[in-house]
């Protein structure tokens, strides 16, 4: 890992982890880490039950002599916060990887129909068995995302044009979503409400074990991402450029799609759909640090984590005791963002 001047861009060799940090990126990373840390602490403090800064400090310093306040922070807020950070980072990375694969800034797990595929798979499993465990939902989610990704790839394999991939993704997502709606209308009101809550993009039900699982998963995905990092920059230039730089582009496009699927599937299974985060985070990251392969992924993850954390924190505090799902907040902002981005891209 080296630090370069912004003016002297050097292509990394095709071996080892490729993380050429530029001064600007370093500053941005430091700022985002500070922002995430402050957001983390504020989220521990904020909630419908008031707690003191001393209680927050006690939890942060692992001095958990559980009184009412510290146990509220530790048992109820901390899992949500950990989950929001991990889920936001994973969805952002997934979005970034899909954008690299599709070579289109509008690609995102939600836009490409992958989130819908995961949701349909979970619904089918529930309808068949009337109940669903955590492990089953994660496996079902993986299966749904993989099948949808294969379906999209099968439709576009002869025309790997970025816009075409997004259009096919939207169409596949619409069909899959329609199947989900049909299945939902065939179950009882209670089951429908349960499934809708299951897929609503809420951190309400996350416990410490699930949040820890998501966090560990995030670490594993980051490790694999860094191992693939030396291929990310060439792939960002496009298929032919990557081939000319010695990268087996077809193989690594598939690898990064698989990694994107691995990043998002457990999030959909545990939290539900929090679409658009990959879109927004990557777009912001590109505008802050420019097109810089690995760094772009890391900055996107930090932005995704911060945004999802605040979406959840605002959702549980702004109108308390009425709770707004983080997915609703992000979808609202994301849809507006999507429209603005489309206009921006057309202008470009």
């Amino acid at each position: 890992m080296n630090i370069f001047d912004d003016q002297n861009m050097i292509l990394a060799p095709l071996k080892g982890i490729c993380l050429p940090l530029y001064k600007r990126t370093c500053w941005v990373l430091c700022a985002l880490v500070v922002m995430l840390s402050l957001s983390f602490i504020c989220s521990l403090k904020l909630g419908s039950v008031s707690v003191s800064w001393a209680d927050v400090y006690a939890v942060i310093s692992f001095d958990i002599a559980l009184n009412d306040a510290t146990s509220t922070i530790y048992e109820l807020r901390l899992p949500r916060i950990m989950g929001a950070i991990a889920a936001g980072a994973l969805m952002a990375l997934s979005g970034y990887l899909l954008q690299t694969a599709a070579r289109n800034a509008l690609a995102d797990p939600g836009v490409l129909g992958l989130s819908d595929g995961a949701a349909l798979s979970v619904i089918v499993l529930y309808v068949m068995s009337s109940q669903i465990s955590l492990t089953e939902s994660i496996i079902a989610s993986f299966f749904g995302v993989f099948v949808t990704a294969i379906l999209v790839l099968w439709f576009v394999h002869k025309n790997l044009n970025g816009t075409f991939i997004v259009l096919v993704g939207i169409a596949v997502g619409a069909v899959v979503s329609a199947f989900s709606d049909m299945l939902l209308s065939s179950v009882t009101i209670e089951d429908m409400a349960f499934l809708m809550a299951f897929l609503s993009g809420s951190f309400l039900s996350l416990d410490l074990a699930s949040a820890s699982f998501l966090s560990i998963w995030m670490m594993a995905v980051i490790a694999v991402f860094l191992l693939l990092s030396r291929y990310i920059n060439p792939l960002n230039f496009g298929y032919l450029h990557a081939m000319s730089l010695g990268v087996d582009a077809k193989k690594y496009y598939i690898f990064i799609i698989i990694l994107a699927v691995f990043a998002m599937a457990p999030v959909i299974a545990l939290v539900g759909s929090i679409g658009f985060i990959g879109l927004i985070a990557t777009f912001l990251a590109k505008n802050i640090i420019g097109y810089r392969g690995t760094e772009l992924g890391i900055v996107s993850m930090l932005l995704g984590a911060i945004m999802t954390l605040w979406a959840d924190t605002l959702g549980r505090t702004l109108f308390a005791p009425i709770m707004i799902h983080a997915g609703v907040f992000i979808a609202l902002i994301g849809a507006l963002f999507f429209i603005i981005m489309t206009r921006y891209i057309v202008r470009q």
């Binding site: 909630g47 419908s48 039950v49 009412d68 146990s71 509220t72 048992e75 109820l76 807020r77 009882t188 009101i189 209670e190 409400a193 349960f194 809550a197 299951f198 309400l204 039900s205 416990d207 549980r316 308390a320 005791p321 009425i322 709770m323």
Partner: protein, 323 residues
């Protein structure tokens, strides 16, 4: 002196035995199939569904520590839907904790230190484990073919089954008398409970909905042919196109308005005028003065007070028609 010692000892023993009863537990199976160890006499009950659970708890005078709430419009204040209309209880005048619209504010639930949490399968199945870490949690089904089954279960779980049995016996007596007294108007007759969905060209059929349909079925009224052909007996109901207004004809027609937004009985007619102009000519119940407008909160809540409300409204209409 000996008498005094006997009295003190007796009092002590009595209070100890009462305490032990209060701490005794029982294992029950809730409507989601969970086996839960609950106190036989819970003292701080958190209710996470105002219309389905809080109403029952109020009806049997169980100790509530907090409840989910609705928002009353246009005041925009928390409100115990059903509890306010049926029992006159305003949220602002209680010391209940407010758990939000679907009982989803878990921090408030924890802060209220309940010894029993009653949620619904519909909204709390996903967070059951989290709620159970706060206090024993039981889930009820909101839609059961016989609403008193759910009521009996809740009463049993909170240690008030005897009171339920007593009230239910009285209710059955009232129903038997009513059927006997108004056999001409009820025997072999059909009913529909439906509400217009203004602006959507739809009518919502409420086939199994709260105490109102329970009372009407218990009186021996049956579903008209259209409902028998369209819905299974246990279905809650669904929206149908308002073009089908003629198919919704029945001997008795019930509709409700909601006081949540300050509407009155006239809102029912406004609604039908909107979704199906000329509806009055399609419904023989309307022409025969057998169209009854009720307050939804009073007619829905699964309480014996609400059962009386429905019976009284029906009786008044029958007596008026007999004149």
């Amino acid at each position: 002196m000996i008498k005094l010692i006997k009295f003190v000892l007796g009092t002590l023993l009595l209070s100890l035995s009462l305490q032990s009863v209060a701490k005794e537990t029982m294992i029950i199976t809730d409507h989601a199939g969970n086996k839960v160890d609950v106190l036989k006499q819970p003292k701080r009950i958190a209710s996470l569904h105002v219309m389905s659970a809080t109403s029952i708890l109020l009806d049997i005078d169980a100790p509530i520590v907090g409840t989910s709430t609705y928002i009353k419009l246009p005041e925009n204040t928390p409100y115990i839907r059903g509890g306010e209309e049926v029992f006159g209880i305003k949220f602002a005048n209680t010391d209940y904790f407010n758990y939000g619209s679907k009982g989803s504010d878990i921090e408030q639930i924890k802060a209220s230190k309940p010894d029993l949490i009653i949620g619904t399968v519909k909204y709390q199945k996903k967070v059951f484990a989290k709620l159970s870490s706060i206090a024993p949690t039981v889930l009820i089904k909101r839609y059961t073919t016989n609403i008193f089954d759910a009521y009996r279960d809740v009463a049993t779980w909170v240690g008030k089954k005897d009171l339920f049995d007593q009230n239910y016996a009285q209710y059955q007596q009232k129903i038997a008398l009513f059927k006997d007294k108004y056999a001409d108007e009820l025997s072999g007759k059909t009913f529909i409970y439906a509400v217009p969905r203004k602006g959507q060209a739809e009518i919502k059929i409420r086939q199994n909905s709260g105490i109102i349909t329970q009372v009407l079925f218990d009186l021996g009224l049956t579903r008209p042919q259209f409902l028998q052909d369209t819905f299974a007996p246990e279905d809650a109901g669904a929206e149908v196109s308002s073009e089908l207004i003629e198919s919704l004809d029945a001997d008795w027609f019930f509709s409700t308005y909601t006081s949540q937004s300050g509407a009155g009985p006239e809102s029912i007619d406004d609604g039908f005028n909107d979704v199906s102009p000329g509806w009055q000519f399609a419904l023989s119940a309307y022409q025969n003065d057998q169209f009854i407008r009720l307050n939804r909160e009073q007619a829905y809540t699964p309480t014996f007070v609400s059962a009386d409300y429905v019976l009284n409204a029906l009786e008044q209409q029958i007596l008026q028609n007999r004149k």
